[in-house]
Amino acid sequence: MSYEPGKMGIAEGMALVFFTCFSSVFLTIWSMHIEGVGTAAWSVPIIGALCFVVMFGIVLFVMDRVPGDLYSIAEKLLGKTGAVLITLYFAMVFLSRATFLLRQFCENTLLTALPDAEMSEVIGWYSLMISVAIWIGIEALARTCFVSFPFGVVGLFIIMPMVYHKFDLYNLMPWLGNGLPGVLKTGFISTSDYIYVFLLPILASAFSERKIIRTAGLIGIGLAALLRAVIFFVYIGVFSVTVGKEKILPFFEISRLIYISRFLQRIESFFIIVWAIYGMATVAINLYVALYLLVRLFHLPTMRPLIVPMTVIMIQLALLPSDIATTIDLNTEVAERAVNFGVFAIPVILLVAALVKGKRGGKRCIIK
């Protein structure tokens, strides 16, 4: 069927996971973690990733016993209704993520690069790019992500040393931030940042082996968590807590501080391009997965006729919040409540169902 995601390997899978988990560092998430846990905010991505790896392990365990993608596993274990509910849930999670990211990246484009532009113009152009990316397909999108991936990572590793003159290790003390229980709680809640790794089981038919899903997932989560932790660490070292939690675009603020000499300064424009690429690719991946789930759910023969209507719906939803602060608050609410429910509840439900039914499947996860 034409909605099939194609064939992907570890590189593509890892790139998809990395992009979806990592792109939020270009947004306000740092300031929110600092608000919650103070100087220890850098540990939050690692704690969240560790919690998520456990849940991801449970899903992989279930996939070992029940071959197929997430939809077919849910169908086999929970019946039609269960599969519909789980698929709808994930479709909504990915669509809401695409919506919130689109709005935030558009607002940030106005804020940083194009202050005189109209919001509708920016969101229109971005959505056009996203639609074209989805039209071309997830396979091409994943490879584009893999090609773009080093630019973002290298860019970050260029920025970090360039603000060494503003970095002070004492800004990271006391090491326990606002206290160990708070750090663990916030880390636990931030597990929702990684739910998008479930795109691998959702698109399982694109991967020839379950081992590929496991490897791509773990590398993607590991890299994203590690880099996020390093960036948070540097950010707190540069801005400390009180100033750090004020910023709406921490990454941009860090890049604006670069002043090596009269001749090497004001290089943040370069990084705006990097984060725009990361942002739009992530929105496209999320919207693609939402569309894929709907197509899979309704057994539609193709995805392409839905791209434009879904993009329009996404734009309308993205424009609903009246301002950027409301968007950020809503995003946090959705992540903390709805997304975390899925992260913890769905793998456990599937595990219990798999154990109860006692089914043992084959090693491969190709949809039969």
Binding site: G38, T39, L111, T112, A113, L114, P115, D116, A117, E118, E121, W125, L128, V132, K166, D168, Y170, N171, M173, P174, L176, G177, N178, G179, F239, S240, V241, T242, V243, E246, E253, R256, L257, Y259, S261, R262, Q265, R266
Partner: protein
């Protein structure tokens, strides 16, 4: 096949339209503000002074007989309730669109600085055209006067003037490099107090007062802006010392010498000339060039609730001059010079810390060393850090090592000199 080519062509065409032309402005439509001064004005207003670049004056002269421009900048002062409104009004006084993205210096008038500047500073961290690396200064007198009188000749461009000053801060360390980001960090985060470079118009250099020449030799370097005994034809602006804040209010000023002590503690002293009284011939002087030999070891403890500051500094350097021609290069004598230098710097550090304790302004950030004594950031935030600093006990230990003797390894007395 054809539709793919058509789509590709359309996308390529669109890519040219999405490259940021929406916000494009021609450079000859823009007035680049390179420095801004803010003073207190009547009725709770601000007097905002803009120094605006004249781009044509910075271009090379095209041929013989071409008129030489008067200066590279124009100055506009506007009284308004705040800086945002002043910017609005500025747009009505100049034909071009004001643009702040290339601003290099923010100068606050002393009266305003003493009454508190946190409200004034707010837009400088929020509005996208301002940057964290704008250098911040306090003007002795008014910022407007300073901007008007500031006419550098060595550096034709005022932007270059500011940047060159900041680049060469470590040459003497009589002033330091501080920008809006650093100032704001100290203002908002607990554990330190803000400070800014202190500038002033020198009346003798400006020719408004005669130079009397009564300068104490011991005072060397201990100047505030406007006090440097000098005359000349270059810029009358003195770039020395620092304005010290407690909270957002200026509470005092550090002299050039005190700023040098701050640089020593911050491990930023790359080069500084020190005058030492000759141990064997007190009427003569020994000149040393010293720098940080290692990062100062600073430890702050809490003993029975009292802050104990332990400062351990290591300096190294060379002898620049020995007026008495006594052979201080020799073993046994060299140690006398090293001990004298260590005593001098120890006294200077004690004076510096004592003075800032009196002002209640922890400009060195001793408070940050206390962070490790608290279990949580909340506890650290709640602690009475300014009070603890005021009552802190200070232990200073300075060690100096003379590594080099300049281009001489032995001094000989002058023939037949008294």
């Amino acid at each position: 096949m054809y539709y793919k080519i058509i789509v590709l062509m359309i996308l390529l065409g669109l890519s040219t339209l999405t490259s940021g032309c929406t916000g494009a402005k021609e450079t000859d439509e823009i007035a680049f503000v390179i420095a801004m001064g803010i003073d207190k004005a009547d009725q709770n207003n601000l007097k905002v002074t803009y120094r605006i670049m004249i781009p044509r004056s910075t271009g090379g002269l095209q041929g013989p007989g071409q008129e030489v421009p008067e200066g590279p900048t124009v100055i506009q002062s506007i009284v308004a309730p705040n800086t945002a409104e002043a910017l609005n009004i500025l747009n009505s006084t100049i034909s071009r669109r004001p643009n702040l993205t290339h601003m290099k210096g923010l100068i606050i008038g002393e009266e305003l600085a003493r009454s508190g500047i946190s409200q004034v500073l707010v837009p400088f961290v929020r509005f996208r055209e301002y940057r964290g690396n704008i250098f911040i200064f306090v003007a002795k007198g008014t910022a407007e006067e300073l901007l008007i009188r500031n006419k550098p000749k060595l550096d034709y461009l005022p932007t270059r003037w500011i940047e060159t000053y900041m680049t060469t801060a470590n040459e003497s360390s009589y002033y330091t490099r501080i920008d809006v980001h650093d100032f704001y960090m100290r203002l908002k985060n607990p554990g330190g107090s803000p400070y800014a470079n202190y500038l002033g118009v020198n009346p003798t250099a400006a020719g408004t007062q005669p130079l009397d020449g009564k300068v104490s030799q011991q005072q060397a370097g201990a100047y505030l802006p406007g006090e440097i005994p000098r005359t000349g034809t270059d810029n009358p602006i003195d770039f020395i010392g620092a304005a010290v804040f407690s909270g957002d209010k200026m509470v005092g000023a550090l002299t050039g010498k005190q700023v040098r002590v701050l640089s020593i503690l911050q491990n930023k002293l790359a080069k500084g000339y020190f005058i030492l009284v000759d141990p064997l011939e007190p009427k003569s002087q020994i000149n040393l060039c010293l720098r940080n030999g290692a990062k100062p070891d600073i430890d702050v403890d809490l003993v029975d609730g009292r802050e104990i500051i332990k400062i351990d500094v290591f300096l190294e350097g060379e002898i620049v001059g020995i007026q008495s021609n006594i052979n201080y290069e020799k073993d046994g004598y060299r140690e006398m010079v090293e001990e004298g230098a260590s005593d001098l710097v120890t006294r200077e550090i004690r004076d510096f810390v004592g003075y800032t304790q009196e002002l209640g302004s922890d400009v060195f950030d001793f408070g940050k060393y206390l962070r490790r004594h608290f279990d949580t950031y909340g506890e650290f935030e709640q602690a009475d850090l300014p009070g603890m600093y005021k009552n802190a006990k200070v232990e200073v230990r300075v060690k100096t090592k003379i590594r080099r003797m300049g281009l001489m390894w032995r001094s000989s007395p002058a023939y037949n000199a008294e």
